[in-house]
Amino acid sequence: MRNVIITDTTLRDGMHAVSHQFTPGQMAAVARGLDEAGVPIIEIGHGDGLGGASLQYGFAAGTDREYLEAVSAVLKNASLAVLLLPGIGTKVDLEMAADLGARAVRIATHVTEADISEQHIGLAKRLGMMTVGFLMMSHMASPEKILEQARLMESYGADVVYVTDSAGALLPDGVRERVGLLKAHLKVPVGFHAHNNLSLAVGNNLAAMEAGATYLDGTLRGLGGGAGNAPTEAMVAVLDRMGVATGIDLYTLMDVAENVLQPLMHRPQQISNASLMLGYAGVYSSFLLHTYRAAEKFGVDPRDILVELGRRKIVGGQEDIIIDVAQELSSERSAGRAG
């Protein structure tokens, strides 16, 4: 029987959808349920990873340390995972996370910038962590470029390399080409992380699996940046029907989604026009709520902001540019009126 290893990132990517406001206690409650359901890897923390708490991305309800302590205390079987974006988080943060029980880390870079991850992947390996290279905004690079970058991460010691569709902009063929090329040439397993901006998250995960991916991501109720991720419970149901083993108990997982996670959500996770635009224009999914806020402050259409961000080829982490673009659109419009 085939099997895939699922990482649930409700408590990390899902933080984008609640402006990073889950409390450590709420995280522990959801994590306990995920663990009981048999989810093998549970990623937690600020949406932008270790050290993400900032004016740029928003401050979380708890600190990295508080989240790690709270979740560490309740997990029995699952591996506790964290995300680290070099340039935002540091090796000091990673050592702290490992001390507090993190057993896996995903080191994320923009898809063309893998070489900034060498020190962090090296440290993670020395700390004995399962180490995942996470190539973000994979729709922006050709399969060949992604392979070159994935090989760098593999050479630094990554145990798995992910094709990460941060903008939810890839179509199934694009997923197959990218994952397939990595699968054909890497020695380490390949993973895929989907976003649902074009309503393709579960489908793209299946396309990735067909092309050889053995690591897939999901979040309960699809909670996540933009239109969210692949709902873990839906994925497990689909994989069950396909005869693919995940080691996760579907009913327990569904109960956690409905009874524990859903009451904590700020709004239903849906494909709003702006989140559809993220996928259509190829913009980083966690920009969504920041864009709404800037659109309101400057009185402009969030879709116009997103199209301009896509045109400027803005990458993950550049939330400051949203304000810049909103301000420019607003002053262009008032100049137009005056003229």
């Binding site: 050290g51 900032s54 004016l55 740029q56 070099p86 340039g87 935002i88 540091t90 090796k91 000091v92 923009h110 063309t112 910038e113 070489d115 900034i116 060498e118 020190q119 402050k297 400027r312 080829k313 803005i314 990458v315 982490g317 550049q318 400051d320 540019i321 304000i323 810049d324 301000q327």
Partner: protein
């Protein structure tokens, strides 16, 4: 006019950009450019300008008595090895890595305090671009927290910066506190591979005690003029603006285009600061000798 002999260690992006600025300096002479890689483009360019080159690292610099000021543009790890050797050889070191052995200097903020230090550190490119703004805010109101986001084009981030990425954020944050005057600080760096390459962008957030935005704007505007004296392409892209509890300002830095193209404002600002500082040191050395 007599000149003071200098050398450059590390012929990468920063070292090479620095070379063009030193070569046209009024009071500095470039005696030697030294690296370790025989295939280095920077060394080839230096040789084409008639500058002596070496691939033996720091040794030939230590051995040349005509070299008095040494620019170190290698990496933090390597500068930690170079620093004691340079000090023992009696050479003034201007450290462009994030090693931070000597005091931090931002020329328009605190150059006079440290002109006699044997080793001066230029923090980071992001620090040179953003600390003046935080210092400008903190001289009119208490800054409880400062945070900067430096976005640079992938093409202008060489291997040194890439391997030093934690040192960049940590050193910049320390500079924001020590020289910028913030009580706490955080720095973030983002590399953007867009083509054509983007110009260096810096967003500076501060959380202040008294958000008198008019006074903050005036102070920042005055500081921008001071930086412009040695970095002509330094521009206030967005004057300070209140957004909830935070004050936001944005800076864009266009380079002089000495080695890499103009989008590499991140290189230009730190090499311009290094040369400005070295010229000041050279003035003092030459002045002292004239009096002897």
């Amino acid at each position: 006019m007599r000149k003071v002999g200098t050398a450059i260690l590390g012929p990468g992006n920063i070292g090479t950009d620095l070379m063009y600025k030193v070569v046209r300096s009024r009071n500095l002479e470039l005696r030697l450019m030294s690296g370790v890689d025989p295939k280095s483009e920077g060394l080839a360019l230096a040789a084409s300008l008639g500058v002596r080159t070496s691939t033996d690292g720091v040794s030939p610099v230590l051995d040349d008595p005509s070299v008095e000021i040494v620019f170190d543009a290698t990496s933090a790890r390597i500068h930690l090895q170079h620093a004691p050797l340079l000090k023992d050889a009696g050479k003034r070191a201007i450290d462009l890595t994030p090693a931070a052995i000597g005091p931090y200097v931002v020329p328009c903020v605190n150059i006079d305090e440290h002109a006699d230090a044997p080793n001066i550190n230029l923090i980071t490119c992001g620090g040179q671009a953003t600390i003046p703004i935080v210092a400008a805010v903190s001289r009119v109101t208490r800054v409880r927290y400062a945070e900067i986001v430096a976005t640079i084009s992938s093409r202008s981030a060489g291997p040194g910066t890439r391997q030093n990425i934690d040192e960049f954020t940590q050193t910049t944050a320390r500079g924001l506190v020590q020289i910028g005057g913030a009580e706490r600080a955080k720095a973030i760096i983002i590399l953007n591979p867009a083509e054509p390459p983007i110009m260096m962008r810096n967003t500076i957030y501060t959380v202040v005690e008294s958000p008198d935005i008019q006074r903050i704007r005036e102070s920042v505007s005055e500081m921008v003029h001071r930086v412009k004296r040695y970095v002509p392409g330094y521009r206030l892209k967005m004057p300070p603006m209140m957004d909830g509890q935070r004050v936001i300002a944005m800076i864009e830095v266009e380079g002089a285009g000495d080695y890499l193209p103009k989008y590499s404002g991140n290189l230009d600002i730190i090499t311009a600061a290094a040369v400005g500082l070295a010229e000041l040191l050279a003035d003092r050395m030459l002045d002292g000798r004239a009096r002897e």
